[in-house]
């Protein structure tokens, strides 16, 4: 049941991305082009999404369990550290270069030809590089302790 619901929500999420214009890299870059011909559309995407999600999060905070029985998993990290700052900046550079962030790139795979595919493969390689590096530095830390 959880798996079916994950499929349905992934599908709806993607429909929202397509309708909103997020799957059009030129529109995303238009939003990031603040010194040129600026396209504020993305503010409306974010505003609409945050408005609805904020209501759900308020409700979720009062419940220990999700409707399908799982534990409610809300993020617990609070520290603003080097990882968060450098990670955010690195992501932003890639976002500005291509106009793609992870969701819209995946939602463009089936229809967009080779370009989104190239981006997604490179993104997976990037994520794998992080995993290898991260597991090594964690092993190193354990040894040090």
């Amino acid at each position: 049941m959880q798996v079916l619901m994950a499929f349905i929500t992934g599908l709806i999420f993607g429909l929202g991305l397509i309708l909103s214009g997020m799957t059009d890299p030129s529109k995303v870059i238009g939003f990031l082009d603040i010194t040129g011909a600026w396209n504020p559309s993305l503010l409306f995407v974010m505003g609409g999404a945050v408005l609805i999600a904020a209501i759900a999060f308020r409700f979720a905070k009062t419940r220990p369990k999700a409707l399908l029985g799982d534990t409610m998993r809300l993020p617990t990290a609070r520290q603003i550290d080097k990882r968060l700052i450098l990670g955010g900046l690195t992501f932003g550079v890639g976002w500005g270069l291509s106009g793609y962030c992870p969701g819209p790139a995946l939602a463009s795979l089936a229809i967009g030809g080779s370009k989104p595919l190239i981006f997604v493969v490179a993104m997976l390689v990037g994520m794998a590089i992080f995993e290898i590096h991260d597991s090594r530095s964690r092993a190193h830390k354990c040894k040090a302790v």
Partner: protein, 144 residues
């Protein structure tokens, strides 16, 4: 700065945003999870944990199928991808490393985090948008 009125789509963007918000709300309330795409995808590259694969694959599959479902009801919007293969590879690597290192992307920090008023996500969102502004300024106006 001027406003690009020709490509400004407030209503469809707002409607799409609301649909994204609904999917985020459903995933949270039914599955108890954050709809953060980079985290869902990146988790598949970690050592296998029992019961942790199916829902991730299902969500990503739904996302990949969404344009096919969309095209049943309405024509897909036109898209324009200006970046060449080299830029796309570079961008993909940076997005992959950055989103995992920073624990989130536009969905996890930008939508979920801002909705929860998480200070971490506010900082991350401000930084990736700022880095995006600077990158586009450099590529489009300084060397473009």
């Amino acid at each position: 700065m001027t406003i690009d009125w020709a490509n400004f789509t407030p209503w469809s963007s707002l409607a799409g945003g609301i649909v994204i918000g609904l999917a985020t709300a459903m995933f949270l309330l039914f599955n108890g999870r954050i709809a953060g795409i980079s985290g869902i995808l990146g988790g598949l590259l970690q050592p296998i944990k029992k019961g942790d694969i199916g829902w991730r694959v299902a969500f990503i599959t739904g996302l990949i199928f969404s344009p096919i479902a969309f095209s049943v009801g309405a024509p897909l919007p036109e898209v324009q991808i200006d970046a060449g293969a080299a830029s796309l590879i570079m961008a993909g690597l940076l997005v992959g490393i950055g989103t995992r290192y920073g624990s989130g992307c536009t969905s996890g920090h930008g939508v979920c985090g801002l909705s929860r008023l998480s200070p971490r996500s506010m900082v991350a969102t401000a930084l990736f948008i700022l880095a995006g502004f600077v990158t586009v300024f450099i590529t489009r106006h300084l060397i473009g």
